[in-house]
Amino acid sequence: MSYLELLKLAFPEVIVVISALVVLAIGLISRQGTAVAGVSSAKPPTRATGTAAGADWCSLGAALGVVIAIAAVLMLPRNASLFGGMLVITPLTSLFKIICLVLAFFTVCLARSEKSLRHPGEYLAIILFATVGLMLLVGSEELLMIFIGLELLGLSLYVMAAFDKTDVRSAEAGLKYFLFGSTSSAFTLFGISLIYGMSGSTGLAAISEKLAAAPAQPLVATGIIMTLIGFAFKIAAAPFHLWAPDAYQGAPIPSAAFIASGSKVASFVVLGKIVLVGFGPVHGSSAWHAMAAGWSPILAVLAALSILIGNLVALAQTNVRRLLAYSAVAHAGYTLLGLVAGGRDGFSATLFYATVYALTLVGAFGVVAVVRSETGGDDVKNFSGLAAQAPLLAACMAIFMFSLAGIPPLAGFFGKFYLFSAALRVGGNHGLLWLVGLALFGSFVSLYYYLIVLKAIFIDPPSGTAPVLDHVSSDLLQRITVTVLAAAILFFGIMPDILASRILAAMP
């Protein structure tokens, strides 16, 4: 196998890395021009006029790199595999590489509008590195490579969360995310080592064969649980969700959006591959009257806890970003339902839901960014009166919230139907009805807190204590990004087949 072939198959990743380096260089060059001005003034330079042009070039470079990478993914062969599964190309990996790149693109758009960020070049480069992490995660069927992808993604995200050095909350977010993240990475690595010790291989297919031959061993169970912990952390499933509220609230908004979207989608893809392909033989069962040991009951418990804790704690939140964080916990629970069910249907329902959820959250964070830049805060009361000042943004936020709550004709509604029906179909005799019932109860509860946000936007007059939203001067790019995302949610709600059938067709 020649390196040329490796280069060819990893071409999208290579493009993203190169564009990251280019962006970094542009950032460096445009900073040098203003360094003198920065030294002479007492205050640190907050994106002086000289660097604004540089920031534009950086954003353009990053966006261009992502777009070219999408084109490159489209040129890849349909199926290929390198180094025993380290780099795999299947329709599924290609589809989700594109989805991750699209999410990265929107994140870059959000970052472009984020005025408080200094060093935009570095920030954008880190987003692109994180994107490479996502692509490696999605495109691998080998535990070591998955771990490397996970770490590349994780380290980039820690930096992104802590990027706003002037804000103590951002530092807190970064530190918490890092501490929880590194601990859970350690668990995952330990789990992988146990599984390797048992099966003698790190390739998912090989592990599956070994597990089928000798299923019931305490060592395997320990290994599986440890591995799952790492992913439960990434998708913010309770009880491994404790980092999420602080990270969502404290991190710069594009970082939070990326943590909530790209990182989640890729984690669900790879988690699904690990449990359904690698651990396939020890599926177990989580049907009410036929519980059997395996990873499925573990995920079922995680899902149940996430739905309950996420929804109930979200009820008490007054800050929109914390509210989104707890609702993210709940949504992780819903999304896990498809994996608990297993099978092609379950997996594709999970991926559909995760994708739609990611698009929704990027959009919601876009609206939060506008409100934050206008009022300096992102509490629910800061949103009051938004509908009168910026009807378009308010309408978009309504679409995002209702999609999360599962109101037709938005994508979240179809996603829930797809997910729950897939979950109910397995196990025979409605074995998973208990979990589906819990999820439905959770959605019922969730409507309340989504309505609270919308009540502030559409009904409450601007309150005396909160800064008045007298006129919203969001820039054009931000508005376009948010509107495009809202339109996508509406479109995938009315025409879900376009995405859902593609995902199902890409399933192995």
Binding site: P408, F417, S421, L424, L440, F444, L447, S501
Partner: protein, 488 residues
């Protein structure tokens, strides 16, 4: 062609967002009139024989992956409901003529409710049906919370959460149906045999979910609160058509899909319905706020619908459908008088305050309308309420004779609270001490506008026409009901 009711309504909703606010009410009026006209044309032109079965009008694959179709169908029951939706919608648009702030939003939400209702009544695919059903919930929240009065945010939230709670039960029920039968086509599902054990627990889940929206007794409390908090148009739509979604869905989906489950639970439904009729009438007798009286009377009248459904014979169920039509018209008329004609001018709905105002002389047209509406509501022969309730009672006599006796008491109570409200609001000669009611300052003696007159006349015409010649609708409803599975 009847399918265009849905498209026109949603198109109108989008269209009015593109024009300045002053055009919104005209666009709404034209849209709703077009919807009603389509309904009337379908009513006149469709041969009665074609309405005996749930006949497909449109069927396009939507999500082939999950077997979902964009599938609309019509039979006599659907057509009746489409017609009452059209009538309510037009009169609602007329009675909202004076909405003066955030007009575009108001009429947008209004048209979404109307469009969603058309969609529910015409859907023949369970997923499509449920999508329209849930779609109606959200606009109600905004209509009430933005444009309402009296504790509006509480009322709006309560109503929305109750509806959504019911929606989640329905969601669970629909998932079970879909996963078990593997189909979403209502006509196919009506032939599928579910095992009786499943029916015995799935039916109550599904039916209760729908019944929440229909205001079944222990879960009815959202209705009076919501009706009172809602703006006039909201109350008219809520009581007029949205509550009917619940009972229609119970009939079309729950009872048709799970006939054996229905057999097991029908007596319990009847019991709750009877309690609801009597209880709500008794509560209405004690209310001080005119809108609360009407709100509880809606619960009481919806009790008749549920009782009619629970009789499980063709006569009772047809009566229930007729009652859905009749109550849709009458409730809209009552709320129009209380919320719009009186409240707009007197700024109070307190019966005690109204009784000092001598309104029958000040607002003769309003008084006339309210007398007609009260008579129809009490079930005086000649109005649609009588035709519907007597049909239900005859049906119920065959199945639950005791219930009919108890309801006799309820009907006396209904007459009592209606007359009390009527006398206190319009015909009271009692002079409250001077100064207690500041009639001079609040009292804003506008005459009844043309829009209000048109709306009221449309509704009065509907209740009289059906009251004098119920066969007009019953001829179309009966065959459709008789073709339903649970009667076989």
């Amino acid at each position: 062609m009847i399918a265009w009711t849905i498209y026109i309504t949603f198109a109108g909703a989008v269209l009015l967002l593109l024009f300045p606010g002053v055009f919104a009410r005209w666009i709404t009026l034209l849209t709703t009139i077009a919807g009603l006209a389509l309904g009337v044309v379908a009513f006149v032109s469709t041969p009665i024989a074609d309405l005996a079965h749930f006949t497909t009008i449109v069927k396009v694959p939507w999500v082939p992956l999950l077997g979902m179709n964009y599938h609309l169908a019509i039979d006599g029951v659907s057509l009746t409901m489409v017609l009452v939706t059209g009538i309510s919608a037009v009169s609602t648009a007329l009675f909202s003529w004076d909405v003066d702030h955030r007009q575009r939003e108001f009429f947008f939400w209004l048209l979404l409710v109307v469009g969603g209702c058309y969609g529910v009544f015409l859907s023949a695919d369970l997923f499509l049906f449920f999508a329209f059903y849930e779609l109606v919930i959200v606009p109600k929240y905004f209509l009430i919370a933005i444009f309402g009065s009296t504790n509006k945010e509480y009322g709006a939230m309560k109503l929305t959460l109750y509806s959504f709670f019911g929606g989640m039960l329905v969601f669970a029920g629909i998932l079970v149906v879909y996963v078990t039968a593997g189909s979403l086509d209502l006509n196919q599902l009506a032939q599928f045999h579910f095992n009786p054990q499943l029916q015995s627990w799935a039916f109550p889940v599904l039916f209760l979910g729908f019944a929440v929206l229909a205001g079944i007794w222990p879960l009815h409390t959202w209705a009076p609160t919501g009706h009172v908090a809602a703006p006039t148009a909201g109350s008219m739509l809520l009581a007029g058509i949205v509550m009917k979604l619940g009972s229609y869905a119970g009939l079309r989906v729950a009872m048709n899909v799970f006939p054996e489950g229905f057999q097991i639970w029908s007596k319990w439904i009847a019991a709750l319905a009877v309690i609801g009729i009597v209880y709500a009438a008794a509560v209405a007798l004690r209310q001080r706020d005119l809108k609360f009286v009407i709100g509880y009377s809606s619960v009481s009248h919806m009790g008749f619908v549920l009782l009619g459904l629970a009789t499980a014979n063709a006569l009772g169920v047809s009566g229930a459908v007729l009652q859905m039509f009749s109550h849709g018209v009458i409730a809209a008329l009552l709320f129009a008088v209380a919320g719009r004609m009186l409240y707009r001018r007197t700024h109070t709905r307190e019966l005690d305050a109204l009784s000092g105002m001598n309104l029958s002389r000040a607002l003769p047209f309003a008084a006339f309308t309210f007398v007609i509406a009260s008579a129809a509501s009490m079930g005086i022969p000649g109005f649609s309420g009588f035709a519907a309730e007597i049909t239900i009672l005859i049906g119920a006599w065959k199945t639950y004779p005791i219930a009919v006796w108890i309801i006799g008491v309820g009907m006396v109570l209904t007459a009592a609270f209606t007359l009390r409200a009527l006398v206190k609001s319009f015909f009271s000669e009692v002079r409250v001490q001077a100064g207690r009611v500041s009639t001079d300052t609040d009292w804003n003696e506008q005459s009844i506008t043309l829009a209000e007159k048109c709306g009221a006349c449309l509704l009065m015409f509907a209740t009289l026409a059906v009251g004098l010649y119920p066969k007009l609708l019953l001829d179309r409803i009966m065959p459709a009901v008789e073709a339903m599975r649970f009667l076989k």
